[in-house]
């Protein structure tokens, strides 16, 4: 038996996707032109699947900061911060993040995935309990397993079920740590954070929130759902990523918890990973500066999200409940999702196909993400392509969509 025989079914599925010439898990852009456009061969593609929420990947100040840091500090750090030392800019970025969140401590990781791996595996040991929202991202599940804690799930966004889970653990030794997300990446819905905080207080648990998709999107200053819900003081740890609103790569955690810095020598994903290169640290630092000082970006993003969400809803697509930058159309089955996705790409629109086990409730999703950098005409063009494709496939009716301004005004 060959080593990869265990993947026979997966290999078959992947090969059949490759044979179509449109494999959603193997897309390669030949040139990326801007936050909203790329080229595949000679075709210009409108990007609606990149999580580039604030469109900062081509911001001039961000690019100049990255270039200057590369010239001054080189292209890489060649080692982990624990074994090989930090650069001053790593520490500066951590201070900027802590300051932005009004917290005492900040810690930077090399990816968002690793931030969850590093924090959750270190916060909860073998005799502790992690209680996860069932729709949590893979990095939360994987980080939970890495620390050997007892891991249980509660129903997605269900404070009563969370309460039940904590009641069952009331007489069990060990710390209890609740993990939720700000905006959920598949359907774009938000957590009922105030209700979760009440449950947390009732049972004396700790609360971790992953603001990966809500940083730069929600809250008066863009800090995320905890700020928007007015419960930041009750959140013990905020985890986030640099690879969405901040346009780079990396992750972080901020907290007021005394003794936080022990995590630097307790968290294996932090200790044993090479640190972020100077260019990324500089770019993220400048992107955070842009996020803080250009609230108009956030407003533009939310306006665009409402316009796109309303456009798809008006056409009759079954979409997520909230107008967030993540807008997913629920497809009847995976085959339809693949076909829809490939027809959109053929027409020049890039979105994402999301399938189980990455999706909640076994849903097949055609997932889009909206950017502040999208123009009105780009959003309306994307809605038009959804309309044409949906009608051609018999997924929506033939009724004319309302004018975009009327849709948004109705929200």
């Amino acid at each position: 038996m060959a080593l990869f025989d265990k993947y026979a079914a997966l290999i078959g599925q992947f090969a059949s996707l490759e044979a179509t010439g449109y494999n959603p898990f193997n897309v390669s852009f030949d040139t990326v032109l801007s936050p909203t456009e790329a080229m595949i061969g000679a075709r210009r593609i409108l990007l609606f699947g990149t999580n580039n929420y604030l469109g900062l990947t081509y911001d001039r100040a961000v690019i100049e900061a990255a270039a200057e840091a590369t010239q001054r500090l080189g292209v890489g750090t060649t080692g982990s911060r624990v074994a090989n030392g930090s650069y001053g800019t790593h520490r500066q970025l951590e201070r900027h993040l802590a300051d932005f969140y009004g917290r005492k401590h900040g810690m930077v990781f090399s990816t968002g995935y690793q931030a969850n791996l590093g924090i959750l595996s270190a916060l909860a040991g073998k005799d502790d309990h992690l209680i996860l929202d069932a729709d949590s991202h893979a990095s939360i599940y994987d980080g939970s397993r890495l620390g050997h804690a007892q891991v249980t799930r509660f129903r997605h966004n269900d404070p009563a079920d969370l309460d039940n889970r904590l009641r069952r653990l009331a007489d069990t030794p060990g710390d209890k740590i609740i993990v939720v997300e700000g905006i959920y990446s598949m359907l774009g819905d938000t957590a009922p954070l105030r209700e979760f905080v009440e449950v947390k207080r009732k049972w004396g648990a700790y609360l971790v929130i992953d603001e990966a998709h809500s940083l730069g999107v929600l809250g008066r200053t863009g800090r995320g759902l905890a700020e928007a819900a007015g419960v930041e003081a009750d959140v013990d740890f905020v985890v986030g990523t640099f690879s969405k609103s901040l346009g780079g790569i990396g992750g972080f955690c901020v907290s007021d918890m005394d003794g936080f810095d022990i995590l630097r020598v307790a968290s294996r994903p932090y200790m044993f990973t090479a640190s972020l290169p100077p260019s990324v640290v500089a770019a993220v630092t400048e992107a955070l500066n842009q996020l803080r000082h250009r609230p108009a970006l956030r407003q533009q993003l939310l306006d665009n999200a409402r316009r796109f969400h309303a456009g798809l809803a008006d056409l009759g697509f079954n979409i997520g409940p909230e107008a967030s930058p993540v807008v997913s159309a629920i497809m009847p089955d995976p085959a339809t999702a693949f076909t829809f996705w490939s027809k959109l790409l053929e027409a020049g629109l890039y979105t994402n196909v999301s399938l189980p086990p990455a999706t909640p409730k076994g849903l097949a999703l055609l997932r889009s993400s909206v950017s502040a950098a999208h123009s009105r005409s780009q959003i309306d063009h994307a809605v038009q392509l959804f309309a044409e494709t949906g009608r051609a496939m018999g997924l929506i009716g033939d009724q004319a969509a309302a004018a975009p301004e009327m849709r948004v005004a109705a929200q």
């Binding site: 069932a134 397993r145 653990l169």
Partner: protein, 36 residues
């Protein structure tokens, strides 16, 4: 999750992976409820 509610238990994820038969489920439920 419905089974967990019916029995008023929370089965940790690593234990769920071990449950393959009704007998496994009964043994796990007894263990989690502290029944001999």
């Amino acid at each position: 999750m419905e089974i967990e509610d019916a029995l008023d238990i929370s089965i940790p994820l690593d234990r769920i992976a071990e449950v393959k038969t009704i007998g496994d489920l009964i043994a796990t439920a007894h263990d989690l409820k502290g029944v001999a």
